[in-house]
């Protein structure tokens, strides 16, 4: 037995007081789970309300947030200092949330189609979507649910499961569009927390969107983007000469060559935020990294995949694969491009690395520190799409003081900014509040969509990690220039 102190969120609706964290010290045995600690707390204080049932990860009753992250209390090991809170859903009392109305949005099977079990292949595809234990975790982290009437991730999972089943008679694709199919920002938060590891965005939402596309139900604004990509190979209008056409093919570093990357710039950095991309190139060159710019690169296809418009995808992929094949390392800077190259291209003959990964791996010359407090906005496609979280933070800390802010989708992904602007605005405004609450002077991020979108939703400067680093280098250079010459000898 060992004593652990955990803090548990207590909330009594009758008290009129907000929830508060109460510390409890309990004895637990080796291997105890959060649930067992809660049992012990309940023995100390029988007023604690919490749910559980199977105790073995099979019923989905016990989902709570442990240290901010949703999970099953019966499966997560408990540790001293854990903070246990209810899921981010309307709280009934203590750790109990109002789950039933959310679960009620999960569509029911409508019999009447074929009677017999489908063939083996269909059954295997269905099984992949059947593991949901309706724990509510995914719903509780879904940004779209908070600002729209979106039925939620697992409701979409169920619609895809029903769509694939020849025994079901509902029009699931149509229902999905009515239930908010196009509200999903593809932030991957749901996939990250699902205890059954169901990857709803890729396995359900994108597939439903693809089916909607086949049936002519794609949103007009999404269809416009697809038409543009088809015509120009780019997902945004050519209002300026794309950066990759303007710069040299090979940009040598300023000092000795320590490494080499082929830079997949992406549509937005090439044509909407070229200054940011140029900052990144400067930082790389300063750090001994040769930057090669393949001229044949086209849109990575992400805007098409996320919105289910797959007709032209193979062509884009082939073009990019050919353009990038000669290089051992392809660097992306756009979180969306990076995630797409890493996950939607199958096996590639080269390694795809994000800008932050490249710098972390090769190491950087220390910049000067700026008297600046910044916060960092995690781009969804970097944090969850590529698992990159520590690298940009370490880079930022080289230059400025970093105050943390909860990672939440800004609303610009998944075609939502174009297709559902009101939702994107509402999510952007949430970021405004979160940013203001940190007290930071600037917001640093690492994705062009976030950079662009958050700029419209905060009064602070929003900049890429590269731009911040470059400012640090500039300051360093200025300091060196103004410093008195060191006596030599």
């Amino acid at each position: 037995m060992a004593a652990v102190t955990i803090r548990v969120s207590r909330f009594d609706p009758a008290s009129g007081e907000p929830a508060r964290l109460v510390p409890y010290t309990v004895e637990v045995r080796e291997g105890a789970r959060v649930l067992h600690a809660l049992h012990a707390v309940h023995e100390q204080d029988p007023t604690l309300a919490y749910r559980y049932c199977c105790g073995s990860g099979q019923c989905g009753s016990c989902a709570v947030r442990v240290n901010g992250r949703p999970g099953l209390a019966c499966m997560l090991p408990v540790a001293d200092g854990d903070v246990v809170e209810p899921l981010d859903l309307p709280v009934v009392r203590d750790l109990v949330v109002d789950l039933v109305p959310r679960l009620a949005r999960i569509a029911a099977f409508l019999p009447g189609g074929e009677q017999d079990l489908p063939d083996r292949e269909t059954v295997e595809a269905l099984k992949d979507l059947c593991h949901c234990i309706e724990c509510g975790s995914c719903i509780s982290v879904c940004p779209a649910v908070t600002v729209t009437d979106f039925a939620g991730p697992t409701a979409m999972r169920q619609l895809e499961r029903l769509r694939l089943d020849p025994r079901d008679t509902g029009d699931r694709t149509l229902l999905a569009t009515e239930e908010g199919l196009f509200c999903c920002t593809s932030c991957q938060a749901c996939a990250e927390v699902c205890p059954k590891e169901i990857r709803i965005p890729g396995k359900a939402i994108e597939r439903l969107r693809a089916e909607a596309n086949r049936r002519g139900m794609t949103l007009p604004r999404h269809a416009e983007v697809a038409a543009l990509v088809r015509k120009t190979g780019r997902s945004v209008d050519r209002t300026i000469t794309p950066l990759f056409e303007r710069v040299e093919s090979v940009l040598e570093p300023y000092g000795p060559v320590r490494g080499e990357v082929a830079f997949f710039i992406g549509c937005i950095y090439s044509m909407r935020l070229p200054e940011t991309a140029l900052d990144a190139i400067e930082v790389l060159r300063r750090n001994g990294i040769r930057v090669i710019v393949p001229k044949e690169q086209v849109c990575c296809g992400s805007p098409l995949i996320r919105t289910g418009q797959l007709a032209d995808l193979a062509r884009l992929q082939a073009t990019n694969r050919a353009a990038l094949a000669p290089y051992p390392i392809v660097m992306t800077m756009c979180a969306g491009c990076g995630s797409t190259l890493k996950h939607d291209y199958g096996n590639l003959p080269f390694r795809v690395m994000d800008f932050n990964e490249v710098l972390a791996e090769f190491g950087i010359e220390p910049p000067a520190r700026l008297p600046l407090t910044v916060t960092y906005h995690d781009p969804c496609h970097l944090l969850r799409g590529q698992g990159i979280s520590e690298q940009p933070r370490a880079l930022i800390r080289e230059v400025a003081d970093l105050v943390e802010m909860e990672a939440r989708c800004c609303g610009s992904g998944g075609g939502v900014k174009a297709g559902n602007p009101a939702e994107a605005e509402a999510l952007g405004e949430r970021r405004r509040e979160a940013i203001a609450a940190t007290g930071a002077e600037q917001v640093i991020t690492s994705c062009p969509f976030c950079e662009f979108h958050i700029r419209a939703h905060t009064d602070r400067p929003v900049r890429h990690v590269a731009s911040l680093l470059l400012e640090g280098y500039k300051k360093k250079d200025a300091e060196a220039a103004s410093a008195p010459d060191q006596p030599s000898g």
């Binding site: 105890a32 007023t47 309300a49």
Partner: protein, 542 residues
């Protein structure tokens, strides 16, 4: 008096596992239905936890008569043949129905649902959805339920059945805020599941507290064969707080070996022919014997080893076990699992007719809270089938009850008044329920576990009676339900001990060390044990 109001419906179903939901779906064909569930409906009970499968005769070469013969043999011929007949005849239809309602079961190389061999069965007849069969059934049933007008009352537990002139008229229930509600109906279906949570080590969910046995018994219905508790041979030992967690029979099916502390493959001493694939009762007793005789592991178990299989095989065939044990820090590809028997299933329960009528008019029972289907030992895969076959039958029977006036009559008022007094006692009590339950579980494990004798059982019963008389304490109204549940567990425990004392023989899961174990079960002179408020005994065959 009744601050949560009185609700009337044609049929009241208590419990939202496989049996309860199936009953509600059926009853909805006959009139209004209210479904009471202690948990969020569909999440409670053991149905969503069932891994292995559902037995049904679906293919040429198999026959309901063979299924019946297997079930009777497995049940040591204590089963009620009419119930077995209903089970084997209707299990296939109920399976097909689940498929038509969208259930996703595995398909094999042949056409149709795949079926695997399970212990004690002459044909492969266990249908499965990976190792989450019960979950798939539950999802399917909840979908179907959503298409009916059944009113589902989540997180509201029946605490007492209400009677009027010798008829069950409904139930009193507590919601999660501790408010008392009254539910009145023409027919009431009890489908509250099992109760092996009265043992220290158990596979059951938190609702395996035997409420149904207790409610039925207190209302005057008769229970049979309560001594018949199945101990699954392989429950996980670690971590301690999750002890008893089921380690599926499939592990042995795939070639898992049982080894004692000395590394001996000890099943050769108990069943050299079938070895690890012997029946559950034999394997459970073998493991218990090894431990009792000092050949167990330090933590009181034995090793279940699959490391002779290739890692790939383990990953393919036992993915969930691999995942579960990895979550608890054991890699079964390289280390053995530590296992010991765990209380799994209660074969006994409310005495029912094939139409699920209990001995109390107006009250029907289905699923694990009923008795007689499995006799003295349940075959793997028969319980899920039971929930569907008898759930439907119970729902239909309750639905066919004629309409009667439903009101809070003086007789019901009196019962509610008594309940209020009990609640006041709890609010005023002394002993927190968890401490009573903890002692109860240990008492039962020691005195009414795998091996039994008269002295041990009598001692356990005395211990249980002491605990029953503790003045349970509810800190707030929201804790009243915990007290009711603890009281139900104490009552269930006493029923198990009393029944076990009534049966002076070894039969199936009931192993009396002080009794004759040589008579073959089909030659036994004993029938069901029975207990009710007015009589108790054991049936003897003339």
């Amino acid at each position: 008096m009744v601050e949560n109001g009185a609700t009337a419906a044609h049929v009241l179903v208590i419990g939202s596992g496989g049996a309860g939901v199936r009953a509600a779906i059926e009853a909805a064909e006959h009139g209004s239905v209210v479904l009471l569930s202690k948990t969020i409906a569909g999440k409670g009970g053991c149905t969503p936890m069932a891994e292995g499968g559902y037995n049904a005769v679906l293919r040429e070469g198999d026959d309901p008569a063979l299924h019946a013969a297997d079930t009777l043999k497995g049940g040591a011929y204590l089963n009620d043949p009419a119930l077995v007949d209903a089970l084997v005849t209707e299990a296939p239809d109920r399976m097909r129905e689940l498929l038509a309602w969208g259930a996703v079961f595995d398909v094999g190389s042949e056409e149709g649902v795949a079926q695997r061999p399970f212990g004690g069965q002459q044909r492969p007849r266990t249908c499965y959805a990976g190792d989450r069969t019960g979950h798939e059934m539950m999802v399917t049933l909840m979908d179907r339920l959503a298409a009916t007008d059944v009113e589902v009352v989540h997180e509201c537990a029946a605490v007492e059945l209400l009677l009027e002139a010798g008829r069950c008229k409904g139930a009193a229930a507590l919601d999660s805020e501790g408010r008392l509600g009254v539910y009145l109906a023409d027919g009431v279906v009890l489908a509250t599941g099992g109760g092996t949570r009265v043992y220290d080590i158990s596979t059951n969910s938190s609702s395996g507290t035997g409420d149904g046995y207790a409610l039925g018994y207190r209302a005057g219905a008769e229970v049979i064969d309560m001594e018949m508790v199945q101990f699954h041979p392989t429950g996980a030992i670690q971590p301690y707080d999750a002890r008893g967690r089921l380690v599926t029979e499939a592990v042995r099916g795939e070639g898992g070996r049982l080894l004692n502390r000395l590394g001996e493959r000890f099943m050769s001493r108990y069943d050299p022919e079938r070895m690890e694939l012997s029946t559950r009762d034999v394997v459970a007793r073998a493991i218990a014997t090894e431990v009792l005789e000092g050949r167990g592991t330090e933590r009181g178990g034995v090793w279940l080893d699959v490391t002779h299989l290739s890692p790939g095989e383990i990953e393919r065939r036992l993915p969930i076990m691999l995942e579960q044990f990895l979550a608890f820090g054991v890699d079964i590809r390289t280390e053995p699992m530590e296992v010991a028997p765990t209380a799994h299933h209660i074969m006994g329960g409310l005495r029912i007719t094939p139409d699920c009528a209990t001995t109390l008019p107006g009250l029907y029972a289905a699923g694990e809270c009923s008795g007689g289907v499995h006799g003295a030992n349940r075959l793997g895969g028969n319980a899920l089938a039971e929930t569907q076959v008898f759930g439907r039958r119970a729902g239909r029977s309750a639905g066919l009850e004629p309409e009667r006036p439903k009101g809070v009559t003086p007789a019901i008022e009196r019962q509610l008044g008594a309940l209020r007094l009990r609640f006041d006692d709890y609010l005023d009590g002394e002993v927190p329920p968890p401490s009573v339950v903890r002692r109860l579980r240990q008492t039962m494990w020691q005195g009414a576990g795998i091996f039994r004798d008269e002295a041990g059982l009598a001692g356990a019963l005395a211990g249980v009676e002491l605990l029953k008389n503790q003045r349970l304490f509810a800190a707030t109204e929201r804790n009243l339900l915990e007290c009711c549940t603890a009281a139900n567990q104490c009552l269930l425990a006493s029923l198990i001990c009393r029944a076990a004392l009534l049966r002076p023989e070894c039969r199936g899961a009931h192993m009396r060390r002080d009794a004759d174990c040589s008579t073959p079960p089909n030659a036994s002179r004993y029938g069901h044990t029975f207990l009710s408020l007015t009589r108790e005994g054991i049936e003897e065959v003339a």
